[in-house]
């Protein structure tokens, strides 16, 4: 093998082989002990959910998701949770960590108080199926009801539907939603009234209502101008604080409320 390797010629390092410390230039990664306090629920054994503690040594670069993986792979394979991309894009692993809704894959352990057990619970307001897995169907039902797709009654163009930068900017914030349900399951109104559309559905309606290419804004406003629509929002701002994508959710809901009022005048 030639002494000089470039990115093109170097072989891919085989997986599961520990690289020597000098490769990559990183120093020793600090480790610390953490206790994960997970809300367990298994209807096959008990109708009651219980807390279970898992202790482990983790690295400063690890996230809550890595700790859950370590539990599942090394301590208790029956622990159930959803995750897919593990990089904050797919929205599968929203859970209630230390009492706040977050993505397990975007929450670094070192940012939490590791001197106390880290509590991990399923998101609230949706029926728990097992451990951290909830039934997302009511959530997606509301999502479908706001018609989250482009409706255009004009002739189908031969190329793209053009839009100015300002028109695109109008709904830019609400395009970022990954449907993780962190907002909807942080809403105290949704906790007590499962019929409420919830912040996520309104955010995705907002994304099309304010899209200049879309023609069904009035229909969506009509759907949300309901007892269980935008008027259920009590502006507690929990959704805005929970959103892992930083969407100004309460702002979006307020804009839909104003659009409904402006339309009726």
């Amino acid at each position: 093998m030639s002494p000089i390797e470039t990115a093109e010629t170097a072989p891919e390092p085989a997986s599961k082989i520990e690289l020597p410390a000098h490769v990559g230039g990183g120093g020793e990664i600090p480790t610390f002990d953490v206790t994960l306090r997970v809300r367990r629920y298994n209807p096959e054994y008990s109708e009651e959910s219980t807390w279970e503690d898992f202790s482990m040594t983790m690295y400063g670069t690890d996230r809550v998701l890595d700790a859950l993986h370590k539990v599942k792979w090394e301590q208790d394979g029956s622990l159930s949770f959803r995750r897919s991309c593990a990089h904050g894009v797919c929205g599968s692993d929203a859970m209630r960590i230390n009492g706040r809704n977050r993505l397990a894959c975007k929450t670094l352990l070192k940012d939490l108080d590791t001197s106390k057990p880290i509590t991990v619970e399923p998101i609230k307001g949706l029926p728990v199926e097992k451990d951290l897995i909830v039934d997302m169907e009511p959530f997606f039902q509301s999502f479908r009801e706001v018609m989250p797709f482009l409706v255009n009654r004009g002739h189908e163009p031969a190329k793209e539907r053009l839009q100015s930068a300002e028109q695109r900017e109008r709904f830019d914030d609400t395009t970022k939603c990954i449907l993780c349900a962190a907002c909807t399951s942080s809403c105290p109104v949704f906790w007590t009234d499962g019929q409420y559309f919830g912040p996520a559905a309104i955010v995705n309606a907002h994304r099309f209502i304010f899209d200049s290419r879309d023609d069904a804004g009035d229909m969506r406003l009509e759907i949300l101008n309901d007892k269980e629509g935008v008027w259920r929002c009590r502006t507690t701002f929990n959704c805005t604080e929970a959103c892992p994508r930083g969407i100004q959710v309460t702002q979006a809901i307020a804009e839909v409320k104003q659009a409904i009022l402006a339309r009726q005048v």
């Binding site: 105290p188 009590r234 502006t235 507690t236 701002f237 929990n238 100004q248 702002q251």
Partner: protein
């Protein structure tokens, strides 16, 4: 969320007060003597503290109500909600401190001083 919880609780407190208030005020139609007797029964330090709590609830509910209206109708309301909440709390303290000084002085000097 806690501003919303506070708003709910103060709202219920104010509702209970108004219920009692409508009842005791309507007593004047039954007989002015009964009304005077009931109102007289309120003149003790426990009711005085209750009045202080009632005013505290009303002042918070009023200021936070203005904040909620701003969130709903002012374009930049949702953006500045946190600053507005601090404004509500500061305004609440500014109103409550002078009121409590005067109110509690009257309540307790009447009881202990016997004016």
């Amino acid at each position: 969320m806690w501003s919303w919880v506070g708003h709910r609780i103060t709202g219920v407190v104010i509702f209970v007060f108004l219920l009692v208030h409508v009842l005791d005020t309507s007593l004047v139609r039954v007989s002015p003597e009964a009304y005077t007797a009931v109102i007289g029964a309120y003149k003790n330090p426990i009711m005085g503290l209750g009045e202080a709590a009632l005013v505290a609830a009303i002042v918070f509910h009023a200021f936070n109500g203005l904040r909620i209206i701003a969130i709903d109708f002012w374009k930049k309301g949702p953006k500045y909600q946190r600053q507005m909440l601090w404004t509500v709390l500061i305004a609440w303290v500014v109103v409550m401190v002078p009121f409590l000084i005067r109110h509690l002085t009257i309540v307790f000097s009447n009881f202990f001083g016997g004016h």
